[in-house]
């Protein structure tokens, strides 16, 4: 009998380790470095976007200077900072890199998604083809999945538009009817689609097969001010950048609140109006720290 009880206790201890491993106390953000300048030493101005790839490259939307900057991050050191600037891209807000290294940019002035070759030259605008009904597409945000499909948060028609890599229409999923305002979306490694309601502070989710979104969380207003951007890490944890709060909120895969990290301020490791974040496979987090005019890089230790 005693042996049996011991086995049960042992099993419980083992099981509780992964559950606790991402509890509030178990997560540690370690500030690695901050990026302030391009390769020529010129300052970044109000960057609104950052995208990272698993090939050690990260791209910054240096919004205030109407350009992109390309950096390499290896062994805790940042190099590069070459400028990518062109007349076809006027006001970069959000950036993404696909698995082929192509760069996608949401232009806030043109209200279009610009596609660049891996070398930073202009390729095309994303023009959705074969839409079920003609209507303007106004992208507020977008994501590229591992199959290189393009997901556009189209606020004009209240939908997530899913296109293949050539821009052909695949499907769309309507946004929840009673949403406050959807500001961002994210795709998990398993293909689940998440959308973020900034006004109500609700995250909704849908699987690839779903025809509609369902709430993953309740209203999280008591935990958040105005979340505007989201990213999902390799384990499915959801990271939300709270713009006016100046912190990052982490939610579990089930939408449960796991904690606030970082805080409002000027010092390195603090944020003022974070606008986009990116998480790579090594659990390194890149944050466009807009009002501090810098990019900050952290590792998240569990």
């Amino acid at each position: 009998m005693r042996a049996y009880i011991m086995k049960v206790v042992f099993a419980m201890i083992i099981l509780s380790v992964p559950l606790n491993s991402f509890g509030d106390e178990a997560v540690k953000w370690n500030h690695i470095t901050s990026v302030y300048t391009d390769s020529k030493g010129n300052g970044i101005n109000r960057p609104e976007g950052v995208a990272c790839s698993d090939k050690s490259i990260f791209i910054v939307a240096d919004t205030g200077n109407s350009r992109l900057l390309r950096y390499t991050y290896q062994e805790l050191a940042v190099t590069g900072g070459e400028e990518i600037k062109m007349p076809e891209m006027t006001y970069p807000l959000r950036v993404q890199i696909n698995s082929s290294g192509e760069i996608f940019v949401l232009d806030g002035k043109l209200l279009q998604i610009v596609r660049l070759n891996p070398d930073g030259t202009f390729k095309s605008y994303i023009e959705p083809e074969g839409l079920p009904s003609p209507a303007p597409v106004i992208p507020r945000s977008f994501r590229i999945d591992s199959k290189e499909n393009i997901y556009i948060l189209d606020i004009f028609s209240d939908r997530i538009l899913i296109l293949d890599q050539t821009g052909k229409y695949l499907k769309d999923i309507a946004l929840p009817k009673d949403n406050g305002f959807i500001s961002d979306l994210a795709i998990s490694n398993t293909g689940n689609i998440f959308i973020l309601d900034s006004v109500k502070a609700i995250v909704y989710s849908a699987s690839q097969e779903s025809k509609e979104f369902s709430p993953l969380t309740t209203e999280l207003k008591e935990y958040m001010n105005f979340p505007v951007n989201m990213a999902v890490d390799a384990q499915g944890f959801i990271f939300l950048a709270d713009q006016s709060g100046g912190y990052i909120t982490i939610l579990g895969q089930d939408g449960s609140f796991r904690g606030h990290y970082l805080s409002f301020g000027w010092k390195e490791g603090r944020l003022r109006y974070p606008s986009q974040l990116c998480i790579n496979e090594k659990q390194e987090v890149f944050i466009a720290d807009r009002e501090n005019s810098r990019i900050q890089i952290f590792t998240v230790l569990k």
Partner: protein, 422 residues
């Protein structure tokens, strides 16, 4: 059968009343016949109150101990329960189970804001009669209703013509019925003048209060004071399908596109700027903030600016409410003193490129402080930043005085002036 049922009910209620009375008397071991009389020995002035035409039933029965504890209490005025709960001991069903709207005073348990718990000159022990009572709190109504050029008859008759005073199971705003059902109880929708007045649109299925101010206005047919020109010119089909079509209220286009027909200059100007206020480009488009028909507010805003902006940016508005020092433009709801509501080339949709210029509209900073600020002054904390007003102050407020970011001035100054930090 019915009579027998009533008799039975009467018997049960009577028995319960006697038992309650006996319990109450027994509870305080009052002398026979004492009850309320004993209280009046000391509360002499209360005798006059009892001469009022309307007396609360327990008072009339001398049941002071129904609401008060004569010996001691944890609540003010020796009440037997908290003042927000004591009335509900008897008046249990003031709020319907599935209420669509509830009067805030009821939620707060502030019954005495309207009722005198002892006696009054008005029916239901109301403190004042008619609209005068409601206008005590609804001051905006008190000011506007007597002044408006075109009055709505039910308002003259009394607020309770359309509103329930406590709660409504049927509709919002304590209305006795939903709109338009409430309105068409008086307004005959098949009258030719009604039909032609509404350009043959089946408005009996619509929401009257999108155009008409039910409390009266200075415009004919009590339209809200600010009317969208197509509505004023009775050109509904400029935006909507024809009245005899299958879906007459559907709009010909959606989002900002429907407004472009007339407001193309505005839309083009919005799109010429770098930073968009995203709701303008959303499915609701301009209607995110503007009413398409008529409004009390200038520029056809859906509600006063602070409420409207607070619908989405509630956290920012609340920060101001919590702030020790208030910033007048926010308090007064003048968000557009600093921000452009549609689009801007500047961060935070500010109306000027430099924060110093925005603040300089109201503040002469050189008098305020001799601290160097401006585009030529680099922030010692970060060479990409320039020192400006927001380097020290958070314009929508903080928990600290003068909405500075830190609890003390020295803590704030030593963020940059490190040599003085201890």
């Amino acid at each position: 059968m019915k009579l027998r049922y009533k008799m039975l009910l009467f018997f049960v209620v009577s028995t319960l009343s006697i038992v309650t009375l006996a319990y109450s008397q027994d509870k305080f071991k009052l002398k026979p016949g004492a009850r309320g009389k004993i209280c009046l020995n000391c509360n002499v002035s209360f005798q006059d109150k009892l001469k009022s035409p309307f007396i609360h039933t327990p008072v009339k029965a001398g049941e002071c101990s129904g609401c008060h504890n004569p010996h001691s209490s944890s609540h003010e005025k020796f009440l037997a329960a908290d003042k927000s709960k004591v009335c509900y001991k008897c008046h249990k069903s003031m709020i319907p189970e599935k209420a669509s709207s509830v009067h805030k005073v009821i939620v707060d348990g502030n019954c005495i804001l309207c009722h005198d718990p002892h006696a009054s000159d008005n029916k239901f022990n109301l403190l004042k009669s008619g609209n005068e009572l409601c206008f005590g709190c609804h001051k905006e109504m008190a000011e506007s209703v007597p002044k408006v050029k075109f009055k709505h008859n039910p308002v003259e008759k009394g607020c309770l013509t359309c509103h329930n005073p406590h709660a409504s199971a049927e509709a919002g705003s304590l209305l006795k019925d939903s709109v338009p059902s409430l309105c068409i109880k008086c307004h005959k929708t098949d009258k030719p003048s009604f039909v032609t007045g509404h350009m043959n649109y089946p408005v009996e299925k619509g929401r009257c209060t999108t155009c008409h101010n039910p409390h009266g206005s200075d415009r004919g047919v009590i339209l809200y004071d600010n009317v969208h020109r197509p509505v004023a010119n009775k050109m509904c089909n400029q935006c909507h399908n024809e009245p005899n079509s299958q879906n007459p209220f559907a709009t010909k286009k959606t989002g900002y596109e429907i407004c472009m027909g007339c407001h193309s200059n505005t839309i083009n100007e919005i799109r010429s700027k770098n930073r968009m206020h995203w709701p303008v480009m959303s499915k609701r488009g301009c209607l995110s903030c503007h009413s398409p028909h008529a409004s009390k507010q200038n520029s056809l805003l859906k509600s006063p600016m602070i409420e409207l902006c607070g619908t989405c940016h509630g956290d920012t508005i609340q920060r101001q409410q919590r702030s020790q020092t208030k910033h007048p433009p926010i308090q007064e709801g003048n968000c557009t003193i600093c921000h452009l509501p549609h689009s801007s080339d500047n961060s935070f949709l500010l109306n000027q490129p430099l924060v110093v210029e925005v603040c300089g509209t109201c503040h002469d900073w050189q008098r305020h402080s001799t601290h160097p600020i401006g585009e030529k002054v680099i922030d010692p904390r970060n060479s990409n930043l320039r020192l400006q007003c927001l380097s020290c102050h958070r314009s929508h407020g903080t928990e600290n005085k003068q909405f500075i970011y830190f609890a003390t001035t020295s803590e704030m100054c030593t963020q940059c002036h490190l040599q003085f930090s201890r």
